[in-house]
């Protein structure tokens, strides 16, 4: 019996969400009095794999094949299902990011394992196995019982602490099959943005709404984001107007994020917008309308016009960072 954790790598590297996942898995294994096995697929250096040990990974399996050159949900779920059976995994844990969302449902059918997606804390009970997850786009939560013997969980990003331990992991390299003939996805072209902090990874997000008034007023906001090491985001009307790129739209139909700090500038806070940001740990709102719903979701607020408040805010951050 074990908890199997699938960790994705980005060009051979792990990131904070990988460590969150392993830390969460270690606590889960403790709850179930079992051990965790971490599975990485594709080429990752041993020194990088060993980092996972520090967060509680006892055994680290590095499944490799030089021919792996594309992410294919069908092929990856077959690989993970194979190791889940081999390791007698009772729980398979993945991130609730794009990769996890692509694999977990397929794995659920393959293993006939109930899926708890986007869990944000440890199970409420192990018998019956009950997880806590967001429903109705953050307007409610559910206690979901997973009834099958094998269970699959996907962990919401930035919902779990990274915990360093004294543990050292042992890496085992296992060659796996990968037949390019049967893998169906073919990549024709890759378009990558470089040098930007990813919205879904960012710990601080600075976001603008209709209150920014036009596409020309974003200078101070971008500057504020740079000073704070934050990613920039926007509300739907802003991306619909073309003031900012679509990739920055956060909200129910855009990106759903959970940073430590979300600064909403000129955003009124419609239900659909809050659905994408309500898991943020802290929300700061700057808006001219004191009755805007965003203030009900925020811990800190400034009633004022973005064009007047933003430059002062930038100066204040410069002052403090300069010290």
């Amino acid at each position: 019996m074990s908890v199997l954790i699938f960790v994705e790598n980005w060009d051979g590297k792990f990131k904070k969400l990988s460590f969150e996942l392993v830390s969460y898995g270690a606590k889960l294994a403790e709850m179930l009095k079992t051990e965790i096995v971490v599975l990485s697929v594709g080429k990752v250096e041993n020194t990088e794999l060993e980092k996972l040990g520090k967060y509680g990974a006892v055994r680290i399996i590095s499944a490799v094949n030089d021919k792996i050159n594309v992410f294919d949900g069908q092929a990856y779920s077959a690989i993970i299902a194979g190791f889940a059976a081999l390791e007698d995994a009772k729980i398979v844990l993945l991130s609730n990011n794009t990769t996890g969302k692509a694999i977990a449902p397929r794995l659920s059918v393959k293993l006939k394992a109930g899926l708890g997606s986007g869990v944000s804390k440890l199970p409420l009970s192990t018998s019956p196995f009950t997880v806590f997850k967001k429903v109705y786009s953050g307007n409610a939560f559910s206690n979901l019982i997973i009834k099958s013997d094998v269970k699959i969980l996907t962990l919401a990003q930035n919902s779990s602490e990274v915990i360093e331990t004294e543990n050292k992991g042992v890496v085992t390299t296992v060659p796996i099959e990968w037949n390019p003939e049967t893998v169906k996805t073919r990549v024709n072209e890759v378009q990558k943005q470089t040098g930007k902090i990813l919205l879904t990874d960012a710990e601080i997000v600075v976001s603008g709404g209709r209150g920014m008034k036009s596409a020309d007023n974003w200078g101070p906001m971008v500057e504020l984001a740079e000073l704070l090491g934050a990613a920039t985001a926007c509300s739907r009307p802003v991306s619909d107007e073309g003031w900012r790129p679509h990739e920055e739209h956060t909200g129910q139909t855009g990106k759903i994020i959970a940073p430590n700090l979300y600064i909403a500038i000129g955003i009124s806070g419609a239900t659909q917008h809050l659905a994408g940001v309500s898991s943020s740990k802290y929300i700061v709102a700057i808006n001219t309308d004191k009755d805007a719903p965003i203030f009900a979701a925020a811990q800190y607020g400034i009633i004022g016009d973005a064009s007047k408040v933003l430059p002062k805010l930038v100066e204040a951050v410069k002052d403090i960072k300069g010290k």
Binding site: W10, G73, Q74, S77, T98, K101, A102, P105, L107, S108, V109, K112, G114, L115, S117, G118, V135, Y136, S137, A140, F141, S142, N143, L144, I145, I146, K147, K184, T185, R186, V187, E189, V190, Q191, T200, D201, L228, E247, H249, Q252, T253, K255, L261, A270, Q272, A275, S278, K281, Y282, V284, A296, A297, Q299, Y300, I302, I303, K308, V309, A316, D319
Partner: protein, 243 residues
């Protein structure tokens, strides 16, 4: 497609937080499914796509038929309703797979999630049941020379991929700009379009909602003088300790 409460609904629960209070709820097509349908119709509008029929499929009781008729009014050619309470995602995907096994479609579009259970699960499960390839986080679907060309969002960028049919594309933002709206003519026509009702097969759901909880109210907002935003930065540093 899923039938969900309008996204502005303030949800409430009854029977000791075990059931959604459906009183007064306006039911709509799940927003992502509505965009999927819009894209499917856009593709069909272009004769070179080779698409002849757009079908919507739904697992649910007769009470969902007004929402299905809305999809027909928007432009779907026909509809399938599998007559069962959607017990969980696994149950829904298994029912859909059972019907689609005998009525194959080349391109199956599923919304990334439903706005009620936020599972992001049915599309991938359906693909696995049917043993079809699936592409997730899809922001564009095109058909060129009979080949399906898909753009998927990846961390920090996009990939343009091709996948042989039949394929399940799990779609999100970008797939269509605005959902298509039903015109009067469409509404009239929808009444006579075929809506086939299929009885479910026996499938044991794997999960069950025990109860619901309402979110905890956030702390009351602390207001800072707009003339002195420095105070905000100090609060974030010293009180919240996040910058």
């Amino acid at each position: 497609m899923s039938n969900v409460p309008d996204t502005t609904t303030k949800v409430k629960f009854i029977d000791d937080f075990t059931k959604l209070d459906t009183a007064g709820i306006q039911w709509v097509i799940n927003p992502w499914d509505e965009l999927s349908l819009t894209r499917a119709l856009e593709l069909k509008d272009d004769p070179s796509s080779g698409i002849q029929t757009v079908t919507v499929a739904h697992v649910g009781l007769i009470s969902a038929e007004p929402t299905i008729r809305k999809a027909l009014a928007i432009g779907a050619d026909d509809a399938i309703r599998i007559n069962a309470e959607p017990a969980d995602a696994y149950f829904v995907a298994a029912q859909l797979a059972n019907v689609l096994k005998s009525e194959p479609y080349d391109l199956i579009l599923c919304g990334i999630e439903s706005s009620d259970f936020n599972g992001s699960t049915v599309g991938g499960m359906l693909a696995e049941f049917l043993e079809y390839p699936s592409v997730s986080s899809v922001s564009s679907v095109k058909i060129e020379n009979g080949q399906i060309i898909i753009t998927r969002e990846i961390d920090g960028g996009k990939e343009i991929v091709t996948v042989p049919t039949p394929v399940v594309a799990i779609v999100q933002k970008g797939i269509a700009k605005e959902p298509r709206i039903a015109a009067m003519r469409g509404i009239m026509m929808a009444r006579t379009k075929p809506l086939k009702v299929v009885e479910p097969v026996a499938v044991e759901p794997l999960t069950e909602v025990q109860r619901y909880e309402m979110p905890k109210p956030r702390a009351v907002c602390k207001f800072v003088d707009p003339e002195n935003p420095k105070q905000l930065i100090e609060l974030l540093q010293n009180e919240a300790k996040i910058i």
